[in-house]
Symmetry: C2
């Protein structure tokens, strides 16, 4: 089945193959992709489209002396198979050894852990600069495409590259797509270049001072070998603009490129996912419904996303329904946030959607453009919780400490369906604050809650004594569990608080707790450093109140098991009860 692939322990084995064997290899690699992706899911379209180009790269260049940097690195699976990691694709028991992104811990052929977009050119420029300083001459190749080019950093990278005077190769994988359709004026230029086979004078790469070569047959091994041989050892920067087909080799993916950018485990015949999410309500559907209804009711409402409508599962037909009330800025969180500030300033009601891990790219725009100006932008972030995405480059656990310390920004941590819905309503219609809302990662639960938010106050859910539990957002249910365990273990009823506002300290309430409480416990599913709990510790610092903050460490966790991690950190209910025994 994988006769040739299994002989590949590194690029040197690729170079030994005949053209026929390389073709067979490409078929085997697609089979291996199917094997992994049908069983555990992952990035589909980007990798199916890049098989031939990455074979050609390893055939022509000499990795790791020659150095490849893959943008986002979600299209590096073929490269990984060719650099001694085919087992992670063909042998089920080795799947989890392969991270799905480039990873220097896995292989000397990987130079960076990468998971955010538009960075490959500048990272590679750094490799090239160090090479020049050391007086070396290896090739440095930055791979970019699949929508990443519209990220400002990629364009800034082209600009910096335009001043280089040594070897630098930028491979632009033009598959006519981002995750969703591409957005922005530059993609018309790419189309011009494709239609003219690279001869159009309207050439964005040349306007940055870069040399340029076009290759139409990005899915043809011989063509790609020929073009790489042409540019290998070149003494100046050049863009290789190649045209590929995203999802090549699987008809459903070729037809519906957006749906097949990334896949869950699926049945190869039907294309249907083999995991069942049930039919019950979920927070993403709630968000979609809110958006569609709000847009219909209020013409000033607009959804803005940096190329991530999928973060809340907003499908093409829904986007079409939104018409001019939907803006995709391309992969530029900075543009999305800054534009939202302008919309709010001129009386519109902007809602920015993406994943928590990506919005930190707009840290400065949130601070300066939105919060200094105190413009009422609402940002709704998916995968904010610690049991969402667990790849080191996609963690949601830094969201709290990143954003709750920016003045004027109200960060809302809903604990149930009722809170989430009313927080959305309140946030989009009010004009006093910029707001960031964490989409809950828990299964939807229902509670009877207070739905006024103007006061920025915490809410007491259960008035008790001695111990007060401040249980934030997704950890509210753990707080409930802990409250019950305290009652069972110690025979008194503790106070349980839903802070709601991760960014604010309700000093009045904290003062009131002093009268009949000795211990305050905070629970949050973010890192403790710079997080919610530390604010509570500071408040009580010079007072007799004992405070214990439970949360995650300041660590780049990678592909962890959430339940195990909580236990390691001493955060299970029985573990906390033991600690309370010692404090009480």
């Amino acid at each position: 089945m994988y006769d040739i692939l299994k002989t590949i322990s590194g690029p040197e084995d690729v170079k030994k193959l005949s053209m026929d064997q390389l073709h067979t290899l490409s078929n085997e690699m697609r089979e291996a992709l199917f094997n992994r992706l049908t069983k555990i899911g992952g990035h589909f379209g980007p990798n199916f489209g890049m098989v031939e180009a990455e074979i050609a790269m390893h055939y022509v260049f000499d990795s790791p002396n020659d150095k490849f940097v893959f943008d986002v690195s979600h299209q590096s699976y073929p490269h990984k198979m060719l650099t001694g990691r085919w087992q992670g694709y063909v042998e089920d028991e080795h799947f989890l050894e392969d991270s799905g992104y480039t990873n220097p811990n896995e292989s000397e052929h990987d130079f960076f852990n990468v998971g955010h977009t538009s960075t490959s050119i500048t990272l590679a420029l750094g490799l090239a600069k160090a090479r020049d300083l050391k007086g070396m001459y290896e090739n440095v190749v930055a791979v970019i495409g699949d929508g990443s080019l519209s990220g400002g950093q990629a364009l800034a990278g082209l600009n910096v590259a335009g001043e280089m005077h040594s070897n630098f190769i930028i491979l632009v994988n033009d598959n006519e797509m981002a995750i969703a359709e591409t957005h922005g004026g530059l993609y018309k230029s790419l189309q011009d270049l494709r239609i003219s086979k690279g001869t159009s004078p309207n050439n964005i790469f040349k306007t940055f001072g870069l040399d340029y070569i076009y290759e139409e047959n990005g899915n043809d091994i011989e063509s790609m070998i020929a073009v790489f041989e042409k540019v290998k050892d070149i003494d100046h920067p050049i863009v290789v603009h190649m045209h590929t087909q995203k999802g090549k080799g699987y008809e459903m993916a070729e037809q519906n490129k957006e749906a097949w950018h990334w896949c869950l485990p699926f049945d190869r015949k039907t294309g249907l996912p083999t995991v069942d999410f049930g039919q019950g309500e979920n927070y993403l559907t709630m968000t979609q419904n809110y958006i569609l209804e709000k847009a219909k009711a209020d013409p000033k409402f607009v959804v803005i996303t940096p190329a991530m409508p999928g973060s809340i599962g907003l499908m093409p037909e829904q986007r079409e329904q939104l018409k001019n009330q939907y803006v995709d800025t391309g992969i530029s969180e900075e543009a999305a946030v800054s534009m939202a500030s302008g919309v709010a300033r001129n009386g519109g009601k902007p809602l920015v959607i993406t994943n928590m891990t990506f919005i930190q790219r707009a840290y400065d725009q949130i601070s300066q453009d939105v919060c200094i100006n105190n413009n009422p932008v609402t940002m709704v972030m998916n995968f904010s919780s610690f049991d969402g995405l667990t790849d080191v480059t996609h963690l949601g656990i830094f969201g709290l400490s990143t954003f709750i310390n920016i003045p004027n920004l109200v960060v809302l941590a809903p604990t149930c369906v009722e809170e989430y819905k009313t927080m959305l309503d309140w946030s989009v219609d009010q004009t006093d604050h910029p707001v960031l809302i964490l989409i809950p990662g828990n299964e939807p639960v229902h509670r009877d809650v207070d739905t006024t938010y103007e006061d920025l106050k915490y809410r007491i859910e259960q008035q008790g004594e001695k111990v007060a539990i401040l249980a934030l957002g997704d950890f509210y249910q753990r707080g409930q569990e802990l409250a019950q365990a305290i009652e069972e273990n110690f025979g008194f009823q503790p106070t349980l608080i839903d802070p709601r506002f991760a960014s604010n300290v309700d000093e009045d309430m904290l003062k009131r707790l002093e009268t009949n409480h000795e211990i305050v416990i905070t629970l949050e599913d973010g890192v403790l450093d710079g997080g919610f709990g530390e604010k509570i510790s500071r408040f009580y610092g010079a007072k007799p109140m004992k405070v214990k903050n439970y949360g995650l460490q300041k660590v780049f966790y990678d592909r962890y098991d959430p339940a195990k991690l909580l236990e390691e950190l001493g955060m299970t209910t029985p573990q906390i009860i033991e600690e309370i025994k010692q404090m009480i």
Copy 2:
């Protein structure tokens, strides 16, 4: 003297003037600029170059219904004079009422507080989007230039604008400069366009799908009126590329554009500053000397700056001396940081320099490209202290809470010359950590200090009892003062600690303090939320130790008096002594 200018209470008064009067007005405005800038300093070159264009803008468009957004807004002084704020330029007692940046609190003609670069296009896109949603038709004009175009966000903005189908005008002020010389391939294209009077097919704006018009005479009122009349009420996005002379009207500034980008109070005849900084040592000269010597000694060392060599006063002749060991990425902090990560990965020794307020633009790149990969990049940040830049858009006080909570990043807060120099030495040569160093804002002082940093430990400077003071970075000297005051007031010697590592908690030392201390006091010149002190509060949260954190509030302070602010916050030594009396 200011006969016409004094009649201008708003744009309606500009429109009444004849061409002759407009010319006289432009002369009066330059005189007014001289009046303010010779006395209190500010942005010189950008404003002297924009007088004519901004007169023409207000002559043709109808602000505030038509909306102008100025990039960085450091070139908006002429606009401010024409919108009822001429007193801030001609009457000394009104200088401080005018912020030097656009400011919605000052005038309905200003839409945003802006101070960071490359945001005008996206902010203005937001205004235009809200306009369209409301069914309105006003003109929206984004002004950009002076180097800001190389910022990724500006390029992403061009890309988003390329998809618009309604009125949008981008005025590109091409003065052939950034603060220093421009960098990047795109500036060659701008040169092509200037030389060809806009006819070159190598047109970066058109590659983003934008309509385009060139105007050579950016410093001529009639020409600019004509071009604005042509584009006013246009029904699609267009770039007006105008050529101006930076510093126009003052020969010294026309000749030496970099030095005259921004000025201190100066003598108009000689051009020399009228404030005296003394001849003693200072931290910027130390940094320059370190850079020049290190570069000579170590070919793998490279300085990378996002267009801010001036942040440490690195002059053109010094940059020339550094040759290929100096990289200016143009105004893109993202590119600079990400490139530095690549340099470090390939064995180089990168030092990134800029101001603290700007480096937060690369928050994501610091977290993902540098810290997840744990690449040994050194970042040296000027204006990190609370008595540096006090404009709301340029505050250094958020640096600590922004960066000390990122895993793997070591944030160093030196307290004296010896620490600063040895921290630089250690940081650049070690390969275990990414490091961010705060350049001290205090006058240089000398101390005998421990110069080993591998252990990431705090240092006890004075062993005492009962009260321990952790005095970070620039507040170390306040800690010394407080220690002395405690001895005088209470008759015992407290412990004084130089934490050195703002990002780390020295748990061993904190535990040792428990044996003979009751109170721990932390002092930091950053905001308390997410800052250094909160980590100490958390550590002692459930223990009997009383902790009091002193620092700034989570507030966007604007043009504050540092000494007054400290008093308001209860942070003077006598105020802290009073609080200790109550705790002890």
